[in-house]
Structure formats: C-alpha cells, structure tokens
Amino acid sequence: MMNCSPPSGSLLRMEHISKRFGATCALDDVDFDLRKGEVHALIGENGAGKSTLVKILSGAVAADQGSISLEGYSFKSSNPLASRKQGIAMIYQELNLAPHLSVEENIMLGREIQRLGFVKRKTMQEAVEKALELVHHPEIKSHIPVKKLSVGAKQIVEIARALVGKAKVLIMDEPTSSLTQEDTLRLFQVIRQLKNQGVSIIYISHFLEEVQKVADRFTVLRDGKKIHTGRMEEISVDDLIQMMVGQKFVEMFPRIDHEIGEVVLQLKGLKGKRMATKVDLALRRGEILGVAGLIGAGRTETLRTVFGLDSIEKGTIVVGTIETDKGAPWIRIGQSVGLLSEDRQEEGMALSLSVADNLTLSRFSPYKKWGLLRLKKRREAVEFRLKQAKIKAQDPEQPVFGLSGGNQQKVALARLLHQEADILLLDEPTRGIDVMSKSQIYEWMGKLVQQGKAIIFVSSYLPELLGVCDKIAVFHRGNLIDIRPVPDWDTQSIMTVATLGRIPNENQVENSDRQGKDER
C-alpha cells in the first residue's frame, strides 16, 4: 500500500477504509483525501460513520482495512500519540476533558512544556491564555478545574486545546454543537486564519449553512459508504441533504397548529444555588417557550433549579396548582415534568447500561407486574420507540456507548417521550442531531404541544428557536431580560439583548433586520 508520489496538493489520503463494530458496519471501503490549506467538510446523517472515519485518522480507533498516507508517506496510526506526532490534532465530538484538571492542565495535556521533567507553568499559562484569547474567551480562568465549567465553556476549552499545538491537520468533530452563534462566528475567523497559515481542516457539523460558509470541499457519507466528494460552491443545501438521506427534504420547521392554554409552570422570583439573580417566568399549556442566551447566561442553571437538581435559595415554583420552594427530580417527575440535560455524557446517559434501560429509566411502570419487570414487553416497546425515532442501534440490549453521538442524543429524547411528561424542559435537545432528525424533533414538539403539553426549549441555535417557538426569553449574565412572542424577535435583536443585556429600541431592530437574517 505504498504511495510514493501523491497527487498534487493532496496532503492526506485515506483509501479503502473499512471498519466494523460487531455486526455494525461503520465504514465500508471509504476513500477520502485532504488538500493542504483546505477546509473539508464531512457530512452525513447520525451514525453515518463520520466520527469513526476521523477517529481512525487520529488513532483513537483502528481501521480493519485500508491505508492512510500523509504527505506521501504511508502512515499507520496505531495510537493517538503517533497521530499527534504526525501533526494531526482533533476536537472530539464527545467532550474529552479530564474533569479534575484545570483548564490549563487540560489544554496542555500531553504537550507540556518542560525542563528536566518539571513543567514550566508560566510559559504554558501564557500559551493557554493566548489560545483562549484567540477564541475570545479570556474570561475562562486557566486555573479552575474543568468540571466547574458549563458544557459550552468546556467546548471552548476543547477548541483552545486544538489550537495551541502546531497541527498540520486539524479535525473538528461538531465543534459548535454547544456554541452560540457569536462563538461560532469567532471560530470561523480562527479557521480562516489557520487556513491561511496552511493548516488543513476536516470539519464535521450538522449545521449545513455553517458548513457551506466555512468549507471549501465536502464529502458526504451515508451508512458507512462514501457518496460524493465535491466543491462546496457548486452545491446547494437542498442537494446536500438529498445526498445525505437519499430522499428529498421537505420542510425544516413544520408548523403544527396548537392552542395555548392556562399557566402550568410558573417561577416566582426563583433563585437557585448557582443562579445569578431571580427569574420570573410563566409557561402555558400548549406553548413552546424558547430560551436564548450566550454561554454561561444561566439558562441551564434555571432549568436545573426548576427540575430540583439544584436547590432553591429564594422564590417559589408553581407546577400546575402546587406552589413549592423545594424540589427533587423524583418529585418533579411525579408532577409529570421531564428534563433533557445538555450534558449527555456526564448526566444524560448511563453509558454502560443498555439502550433499553436508558430509554425506560424514568418510567418503568408500564412493564411492572408484582414489582418485577416484564422484559419481553419492554423490549417490544423499546424496539418500537427505536424505530419510531429512527435510532440506529443493533439491539435494545446494546450498551449506549456503542451508539454514535447523535443517536445517543436521540435516545435521551426518546426517554423523555417515553416518560410522557406534560412539561418538558429541553436543554439543547438538537445537539449533534442531523438535519432530517432535527426536523422530526421539531415535528414532535409541535405534536406534543398540540396535545396540550408545554415545552421550555433552551437552544443556542437561533434559527430553530425562531422556527418553532411561540415565545422566546433571552438571558444575559443570569438575568432574564425579556420575553416576547416570536414575531417580535429576530436574530439581530436576540443577539443584541443576549450580548448587551439591553432591549434595543425599535428602529434599531428594523435596521438590523436584514443583516440579521443572513447571519447563518
């Protein structure tokens, strides 16, 4: 498999790559090439094999077959260290940080600057601060342990880590899944800089508009097979989707008529242990309430306090008619409230348990008989749900860690549906989910509120908030600044409120309207 003279401009070449996990064929004879200084997008549905392909490159997973050549030399990546030595850096889809270590230690992990085995703290600190500066987050203190950061901040740290080393090839596997639009735009600036410096970038994302803006070429994978490689300018988003799913894509935000009823959840001056200030909020039956804000704006904290994961310091919560200043998840679940966590790895999933267990964990009652579970009945129910949610899993008894990132997220969502909650608190529910499935999720949400349920929908992706919500609340540094019906918002005004914490006056909104529309 020697490859002595590479075709002009091709920095990296992967040929006939195949990989199986048990009975799943994750990759089937895939070819891929990357040119110097280009941004190459890798797109496909959840479970198409994107992550697996790049993990083979980074040495995290070993290919069953195929060859890789880098700069014309055959290159066998047996472990992450070897790949890194070849100048391949990667941002993993699942956050890949050591929780006990500080931001600085995490960023410099494995590439410590040392003298005689001892670390040169100062030098590294500077390097880290420079990297954080580059992604415009100097406020992330380099000495605090990573476990204290929110998911968004963690993703920033992960990006900064990929930037400190001098990489030839930079792989980004859904780097923006928890980022706000602002941060995404900054990341694109950084990507352009790197490109100009001759760094080649493999970019994986389910935000196709985003991909279109940043990538030079693209490769589409479907069910582990390569479908097409082409230039980005020559293709439209619709065609891309068609290639990904093999069918025509209809409607991103299907609108389903629903009626808004009485208040079912109300926060009265609620302040939780980790919330900055008090929040007042009301959610009505049949309503989708969107929540926008920057990283660390306090959206997640608010949901956690409502759900009883964080203790309440001041104020009360009214669920239905019951007013309380205490809470615990089991009480809320008893009140038919459900939460989808933004952090599926740490909190959302029991990764070592089976898909079936994860899906039914919050409600075993349908399968209970004399205190024992009827596993067969459960299995049937779970199989039905898996099919319904189009989750790519071999078997309901398969452990969840064997699913692709997007499919794990779908399992988490499916659990919430299975729970049959009346009030759904969704924190970044579409994180890492492909376009088709997203649209399916929006449809679900519509149907749910049609049935008289209520949803709080936290997201950093403004188009989806604007697309499906009835109202949107915007947070700024822990404060709930404003709630308005969707027609009164647009991308620009939300961003202004989220960044400045002020409500812009009317004519400003109108001015920025057109600019805002084409941001993403």
Binding site: G22, F307, L309, A328, P329, W330, R332, I333, G334, L339, S341, E346, E347, G348, M349, A350, L351, S352, L353, D357, N358, L361, S362, F364, K368, G371, L372, L373, L375, R415
Partner: protein, 335 residues
C-alpha cells in the same frame, strides 16, 4: 450459482460457529471455576477424593458464610459502593445471636436479632453515606472498627458459649432430616441467591441499583431516589451479613467476636472475580457465586494437596489473577 453456494456455506459456517460461540458464551462465566476444578481433578494425589460428594458438601458448607456476604456485596458494588464493614458485621451478628440465646431468648428470636443487627449496621452505613455525603470506603472503614469493637465489648473479649439449639443444625454437614442432603444453610444460600438474582435482573429496584452505579447523575435526573435506594442497598447488604453471622455462629457453636477478620477482602474479591466492577454499574449474582466457589475450591484443593501454606498463598494469588484474566480475554473476543 457459485456465489450463492458460497453464501450458503458461509451461512452454514456461521451457524456452526454460533453454536460453539453459544456454548462458550454459556460456559463463559464458569470458565474460571472449571479451570480450578480441572486442575485439582487431574492431580492423581487428590483426584479421587476431590470430587467426592462429601468433599463437595464440605466446600458448599464452607462457602455459605462468604456467599451470603457476597450476595449483599454484589448489590453494594453494582451501586458503585463498597462495604468494608462486612466481616466485622458478621462477627457482631454472630456474637449477638449467641448472646441472645444465652440470655434465654428462643432460637428464632436470637436468629432474628442477629440478622436485624446486621441490617441495622448496614442501614447506619447507608444513612451516613447519603446524609454526610461521604465516600462509602471511609464510612464502612469506620464501621469496620466500630462493629468489631462493639462485638468484642458485648462478648467481653471472649467467645460466648451458648447452649446447642437447632440454630446450630443450620450448618451441620450431615443435616438432621437426611433427605435434605446438604446443610440447611446451603439451601438457604441457594434460595437467597436465586431470589437476589431475580431481584437484581427483573425488579425496578435492581435496575435502579445498576443505574446509580453506572451514572449517579443520570439516575437522579431520571427521578430515582438516590438516598433511599442506597440506604436500602446497604441495609440489604447488612441483613445478609447478619444472616451470615448467624451461620457463623451456627458453625462454630460459639459467638466469637474475633472471627472473620479480613474476610471482607474475600467477599469483595469474590464479587470482583465474578465480574463486579468497583466503579459500579456491572456485576451479577451468578458471577459472584462463581467467585465464591472459585476461592473455596482453591482453598480446599490446596489444603487437600497438603502443600505448605505459603505455596497455597502463592497459588491462590496466581489463580485469582489467571481466572479473571481468562474471563477478560473471553470478553474481548466476544466484542
């Protein structure tokens, strides 16, 4: 035509393979135990004696105490905890039982007190762990000392002699109604093992224990009452230690506060050999029981061989590693 026959052959092969695979999978957990049995059954010196019914009965009886402890410990370890106080708790329960019989309570009541004491110690463990949010290692380490100390205190640093009652028949190798074949204690152990296996696999509680051990945050998110479940887990572990203590008393006919020192390591080892993960979320009753029997047969076989103790210690150490390594390799192949 050609390709089709190829596919057929391949399918046939797959079937064959899958049969062997199935057999292996079914035998899988037993591999370590089988290894130990084969080793000793093939040594001419003991082979005829080793597999005799009466020896098997001995081993079964000897295993009861560790096995009962391991039943509860399996739950604790699956939930991501550990119970270092198990052995002390066994000693305490055995002392309490003897004390109660001596004090003139009926044997049934004494048995009940013994089991209850164990359960209470376990409940205190669970309550401290959840309310003070301390790691189980520390709480149960503290309890290890406390329970042992209390046992010695109650017993006045001595063995407590108690009159013989039917409680002492529980662990008699040749039981009274001879159709029982094995000591009643062995039957009790089997009964509870089956019951706990069912609870672990099929009950909601069992699923909750797995969920807590696999990811406590997720379990909380899904509305599982962590504290309650944990306290229950430690209480169950305690109750089994109590029962084990009663069996210990039954076997020794005295309440001995110094008995079972260091046995917690044996119990934990049995669970871990049987596939329990100290970081939680994995383990099974069948596995733990196999772990118990691997250790019991090893001890039994080595003693029968008449090897010096140090050789025994070395061999047992080596085989524990080998048995688990074997299991590991099997698992890796299965993937």
């Amino acid at each position: 035509m050609k390709t089709r026959s190829k596919i057929l052959i391949a399918k046939e092969k797959m079937k064959d393979k899958s049969r062997v695979q199935m057999l292996l999978n079914w035998l899988g957990p037993f591999l370590g135990l089988i290894l130990v049995l084969i080793i000793f059954s093939s040594i001419p010196e003991v082979q005829d004696r080793f597999l005799r019914i009466s020896n098997l009965k001995s081993v079964a009886t000897q295993s009861v105490i560790v096995a009962l402890g391991a039943l509860g410990m399996t739950f604790v370890i699956i939930s991501g905890g550990i119970d270092l106080s198990a052995a002390s708790n066994i000693a305490l329960a055995s002392v309490i039982t003897a004390f109660a019989i001596n004090a003139g309570f009926s044997p049934v009541l004494a048995l009940f007190f013994g089991v209850l004491t164990g359960g209470m110690v376990g409940m205190v463990n669970g309550a401290l762990i959840t309310s003070l949010r301390l790691v189980p290692f520390i709480v149960t380490l503290g309890m290890l000392g406390i329970a042992r100390g209390v046992a010695k205190w109650i017993a006045g640093n001595q063995k407590i002699d108690a009159p013989l009652t039917w409680v002492n028949e529980l662990m008699a190798k040749s039981p009274r109604p001879s159709w029982l074949l094995m000591a009643p204690g062995v039957w009790i152990m089997i009964l509870f093992a089956v019951a706990m296996a069912v609870i672990l696999r099929y009950s909601v509680f069992g699923r909750h224990v797995f969920a807590i051990g696999s990811n406590e945050a997720t379990a909380r998110l899904c509305g599982i009452r962590i504290s309650r479940t944990k306290i229950l887990v430690y209480t169950i572990a305690g109750l089994f230690c109590g029962l084990s203590g009663v069996m210990e008393f039954s076997r020794l006919t005295v309440g001995d506060p110094t008995v079972a020192v260091g046995l917690e390591l044996d119990i934990i080892a049995a669970v871990v050999i049987g596939g329990g993960s100290l970081s939680g979320g994995a383990g099974s009753i069948l596995g733990s029981m196999i772990g118990v029997f691997i250790m019991a047969f090893l001890r039994n076989g080595c003693t029968m061989m008449g090897w010096p103790n140090y050789i025994q210690e070395i061999i047992i150490g080596a085989i524990i590693v080998a048995a688990v390594a074997l299991d590991q390799i099997r698992h890796r192949q299965a993937l």
